[in-house]
């Protein structure tokens, strides 16, 4: 008996792309968020060609200029152009976000997967993760920062470590679930070895939840980095990040509110967009994993 099937209409490639965009169908806000993120990434990459001024150039005569035709977003107390600094800030945001995602997903992902699959090592590793999770996130970051110099790479590492524990825990839970799936049993019965089960059978099922998790980590990292900058323990003060801009201009806000508005709004919009994107993507996830993802 032959079974009638619907014909294959799409090729693998177009299907991949449309699958990726599928969560955004019918979600206007999330689509706007995605568009905003793409725009920010564009600004970040092409910052030198977009900015009218050097973000570090001091212009004492023009200090605390209100937003206008020459300086779109005004200037700060050194007369530096806020617009240019904001654009360069996007660079820092992108760098910190991607760096944190990379650190936490690779290290945390590895720890989580290995712990769940090889339970003996796992019980030790997960205890370490538990201990680290006993420290509230920003506090852990603050303490770690006292051990390091203030620099971009150290900020990434420190925030990365904080989310490594969360990611490890989440992956641990998901791999434990997948490990008990019948298709894994079936693979074992076919004679598939441990490594292959982990890489060929379990990992591919984790890619979408990991992407969703990444978007939330990206968003959280922005807030953490801004808080660290604000407390004077994040990026070196000379680097134009949104957090540093807010931190420096804090005492001038009553005179120059634009110094508070523009970088603040940029942080909020980026984090909000990333959360929207993550939320939309999570809704299209396999329901088994929805509760595992720690997001907004």
């Amino acid at each position: 008996m032959m079974v009638r099937e619907t014909p294959i209409l799409e090729t693998e490639k177009t299907r991949f792309l449309s699958n990726l965009l599928l969560p955004f169908r019918g979600r206007i806000l999330a689509s706007i968020g995605l568009a905003w993120l793409v725009l920010m990434a564009f600004f970040a990459i092409f910052a030198p060609w977009i900015t009218p001024y050097d973000p570090l150039a001091i212009e004492p005569v023009a200090r605390l200029t209100e937003p206008g035709a020459t300086h779109f977003f005004g200037t700060d107390h050194f007369g530096r152009d806020t617009f240019s600094r904001c654009i360069y800030g996007a660079r820092m945001a992108l760098l910190i976000g991607l760096g944190t995602v990379f650190v936490s997903l690779t290290v945390g992902g590895f720890i989580g997967m290995v712990s769940a699959y090889f339970t003996r090592i796992g019980s030790v590793l997960m205890r370490v993760v538990d201990v680290l999770m006993a420290f509230p996130a920003l506090l852990l970051a603050l303490v770690l920062m006292t051990l390091f110099e203030r620099s971009v790479i150290n900020t990434i590492i420190v925030i990365g470590i904080v989310y490594t524990t969360t990611t490890a825990r989440i992956l641990y839970g998901m791999v434990l679930k997948l490990k008990n799936e019948v298709f894994v049993d079936a693979a074992i019965c076919s004679g598939v070895g441990h490594t292959s089960i982990l890489l060929r059978h379990i990992l591919p099922n984790l890619i979408s939840p990991l992407l969703v998790q990444a978007s939330f980590i990206f968003a959280f990292a922005q807030l953490q980095a801004a808080a660290l900058d604000f407390l004077g323990l994040g990026l070196p003060p000379e680097i134009p990040s949104w957090g540093n801009m807010l931190s420096e201009s804090r005492i001038y806000v009553t005179r120059a509110s634009w110094l508070l508005i523009y970088p603040g709004l940029l942080i909020i919009l980026s984090v909000f967009s990333m959360n929207l994107v993550g939320d939309a993507a999570r809704d299209s996830l396999d329901p088994r994993f929805k509760d595992d993802i720690a997001g907004v």
């Binding site: 079974v3 099937e5 019948v182 079936a186 693979a187 019965c189």
Partner: protein, 330 residues
């Protein structure tokens, strides 16, 4: 020739670790000392209700669960004591079909990947050129269009997925298939198709089968011999004809009488309400069935009966076998 010989197989699970050192952990004796053999090309069914340990038997024999005791040998070769690595080559011989066709296929792998994986692992074929025709052939044998190879499992219905699972197993030409409730998740009309397919493939290839099911109708159709399990033990085992025509354990009789019948003439009179299956975590003393048994005596609550031979190959574990009349003859 005996293909599979299982002797005194035990699979216990620790459900609660004892806090006091020295005190015994709380264990669930899912399978508690069962022995049976399967001849080459024979189909042995294991029936029983949920929690009787029938699935655990299958999972232990494929080493998905670790056995607590006992031995099992395939063509004379003991394998329960082997390490997983030693056992891996032998997996080609012992294959398993699972109950839920929606869960047993990896959602991220195409049908081709799923069916070709075992071939590659066991070195039966390597290049795609070699593998493709084999898969195409296998897929048409299980009643699927070979052109569906590039599709993913979610594009198929339950019955079709179970056919794919069967293809994955049959392509290794194993000598023993352990089928764990392979049709119970399917609709009636689809169940019949898959049963016919299994039966056809079994008789064509001569593969032996351990068929695990709760459905006596399905069991009668497919098996040569039947073993009835209750709370981790075999209470009756014998050729199909003996079990269905002359069920000798009260539990077997209860099972048969409980089946809802279409034909009023075949309907058993009302079964006496006799409680529910006890939990394997907390089994009754003596014969585990005695609290539900209409013929139970004092002896039954004290001593667990051993299997005794009734006729050639027909064995029953009951103290009072032959001492009571079944209420209705089917």
């Amino acid at each position: 020739m005996t293909l599979l010989a299982v002797d005194d197989l035990k699979t216990w699970f620790t459900i609660e670790k004892s806090w006091k050192p020295g005190a015994a952990d709380k264990v669930l004796k899912a399978v508690d000392g069962i022995s049976f053999a399967i001849e080459e090309g024979e189909v042995l069914s294991v029936v029983g209700e949920s929690g009787c340990g029938k699935s655990t038997v299958g999972r232990t024999l494929t080493k998905l669960e670790a056995a607590t005791g006992g031995t099992a040998s395939l063509s004379g070769k003991e394998f329960l004591s082997m390490s997983n690595a030693e056992f891996r080559p032998l997996r080609q011989q012992i294959q398993m079909i699972f109950q839920d066709p929606f869960a047993s296929l990896n959602p991220r792998m195409t049908i081709e990947q799923t069916v070709s994986e075992p071939l590659k692992i066991h070195g039966l074929a390597q290049s795609n050129a070699e593998i493709r025709p084999l898969i195409a052939d296998m897929l048409s044998k299980v009643g699927l269009d070979p052109r569906v190879m590039k599709r993913f499992p979610h594009e198929f219905s339950g019955g079709q997925r179970q056919r794919i699972a069967i293809a994955r197993v049959m392509i290794l030409s194993p000598s023993l298939i352990i089928a764990d409730e392979p049709v119970s998740a399917l609709d009636v009309s689809i169940q019949a198709q898959v049963l016919n397919l299994l039966k056809k493939l079994q008789s064509e290839s001569g593969v032996a089968m351990l068929f695990i099911s709760h459905d006596l109708g399905v069991v009668r159709l497919i098996s040569d011999r039947v073993a009835v399990m209750y709370l981790g033990r075999i209470v009756e085992i014998g050729p199909k004809a003996n079990i269905f025509n002359n069920p000798s354990h009260p539990y077997t009789q209860l099972l048969l009488d409980s089946i809802p019948q279409i034909d009023p003439a075949k309907r058993a009179p009302k079964v006496a309400t006799l409680g529910e299956p006890a939990s394997a975590a907390n089994p009754p003393s003596g014969c585990a069935f005695h609290p539900r048994c209409p013929y139970a005596s004092k002896l039954c609550s004290q001593a667990a009966p051993e299997l005794q031979v009734l006729e050639s190959k027909h064995q029953v574990a009951c103290h009072h076998v032959g001492q009571f009349e079944r209420q209705v003859a089917a």
